[in-house]
Structure formats: C-alpha cells, structure tokens
Symmetry: C2
Subunit: 146 residues, 2 copies
DNA sequence: TTACATGTAATCATTGTAATTACATGTAAC
DNA sequence: GTTACATGTAATTACAATGATTACATGTAA
C-alpha cells in the first residue's frame, strides 16, 4: 500500500506554478512536466482549486497560486488532494468478536494510538511550505548545473 | 488508500497471546476472536514469527510471545507484517520531465521530506508497546464491566 | 463564430487486500 | 506406524483504488 501520487503531483504542480509564473501554464504544459495525461492534471487542479490553493478558470489557459508561497504547507496539499481520509490512514479490522476480551476492546484501544501516529505524520507535512520546496528546487538546480 | 489491517490484526494477535496465555490458542481460536479466516491468521502469524515476535510450531496448536511484552513495540509489528515498505509510504510520480526545471528536481527535493514525515509516523508507533496495549485493554474491560 | 481551454464522466488495465479452499507437511498420543 | 489434528502455503476469487485514456459538454476571448 502507498499514499497516492496525487500528493506528490500536487506539490509538483504548485511548485511549477511559481517557477514558471511568467509563462502560460495550460494543463497540457503541466502534464508535460509531470509526465502524465492532461485530464489527470485537470482533476488534481480541480481539487487544489476547491481547497483555495489555486485559481483556474474554465476555458482560459493558465493557472496561478491563490495564496502566498509560504502560506501553503504540504499538509494543505495533502488534504486538498484527498489521499487519506480523516483518521483513516490505518484500517482496523472490523467486527472483532465481542465475546472475547480482546475482541471487544481492541478497537477502542488501538484507534487513539493510530490517530496519534497519523497526527505525527501530518504535523511533519505541516511544517514544510511550498516556498521551502521551491527554494530547494532552485538550489538543486544551481548545484546540478555546475 | 489505507494501511492494511494486517497491522491491527497483528496487534490483536499479540495482545491475545498475552491475555489468554494460559490457554491453547490455535489459529482457529484466534481467527474466532479477530473474526476472520484461520488461514489469514496463519499467514500473519508466519510474518510475526519471521520477525522473531512469536513462537509457533508446525503441527502443534498454540503460540506464544517470543519476547517480553514491553520489548515489542507497535513499530515492530508494523514492520513485521509488511504493510509499508521502507521509505515508500508515499508514492512519488516517476519519470517527470527532465527537460523541465521542476521535473528534473522534484523527486530529489520531495523524497527526503516525505521520508521525514514517514519517520515521524514510525517513531510514534515505536513509542507504544504491546504491554501498553494490553494494559489499556484490561482497563477498558474493567470500566465497561461495571 | 471560431479556436482552444477547462470540467468531468466513463472506461480500462493494473495492483493490493482479504476471504476462502485445498492440500502438503509436521507433531504427539495411542 | 497410524490416527487425529495442527500449521504452512499456494491458488482462486471478489472487491476497491489508482492512474491513463478517451470523449464530450461547457466556458472564454479574439
């Protein structure tokens, strides 16, 4: 199992909107960079739009960030593209046997523990912004072009 | 997407081995508590055995914990049942366009960030032991039986 | 009205999960 | 050694999510 690449694609898109901010960025252009189908990009862009992270208009080529770079965290993207539901990163077996001491208590015991672990993950994502990502891309670009 | 319930089932099994330590615990008995098929239990038990967490013998009903309760963390179980591969909780789109500045740097930029997030999750799991889980089950049992 | 963009639904191949069945193998008691 | 019963494990199935693709309705500006 693995968290959908919609998330990493979402981060890619937002970074690209910033780095190519002076150019027209159609879904086809973005798809070329991500290396996927334009319809996939449009679907993800729709999610980012619903979350208030980007501005796109039907019929008009081009998209822009709807917020400042440093006001968008990876957690915002993660939530926007809907890769993991609230408190459902871990699936717990349902209908354990209520006639067994373990069966009738395991869910109630384990759920808060898993929830804490999921929060730790999300907190880590919340501490990184698209601004950080863009800066890192620019640094790597410098280093690699030498 | 969701992390396989093999993990929560694994925790269930280990807790059950402790709580019913004085009784014979066949895969069928355990399956009755978890509410699944005995073959599923045997498969997961095999993984727990490979990880050195339980002792089981072919042909002999019954299984036991192979370590002390407080020496088994949920992270051990999580790794044992193989629900998430090393550094692969997040999937990253592959083959982004190397002719694009974002495309040629995004993977190298994003991978360590995702790795840190995954580590935060795993660290949280590493701080809880089966002993903690068993104690919590016993407490909940007391409260609910009043 | 034309050219071209986004929005979105439907389809498809692929993959992972969990349940189930079946059977080979192992063990202990008799 | 044979019987009874357990674990080990492979094969099959139904189901759900992903990502790619196609198709087309809708929106916009020249």
């Amino acid at each position: 199992m693995s968290i959908s690449s919609r998330f990493s694609v979402g981060v890619h898109i937002l970074s690209l909107l910033e780095i190519y901010k002076n150019e027209t960025k159609s879904s086809e252009f973005i798809a070329g960079s991500v290396n996927t189908n334009p319809a996939v990009i449009r679907k993800i862009m729709g999610m980012l739009k619903n979350a208030g992270l980007v501005n796109v208009r039907p019929g008009v080529a081009g998209a822009e960030l709807a917020k400042n770079l440093d006001e968008i965290t990876l957690l915002d993207v993660y939530k926007a593209v809907n890769v993991v539901q609230e408190n459902e990163l871990f699936s717990v077996h349902d209908h354990p046997n209520p006639e067994c001491m373990v069966g009738r208590n395991i869910q109630e015991t384990i759920t808060p523990i898993l929830s804490i672990a999921q929060s730790a993950l999300e907190k880590a994502l919340g501490s990184v912004t698209i601004s950080d990502v863009v800066k890192d891309i620019e640094e790597k670009e410098k280093i690699n072009s030498k």
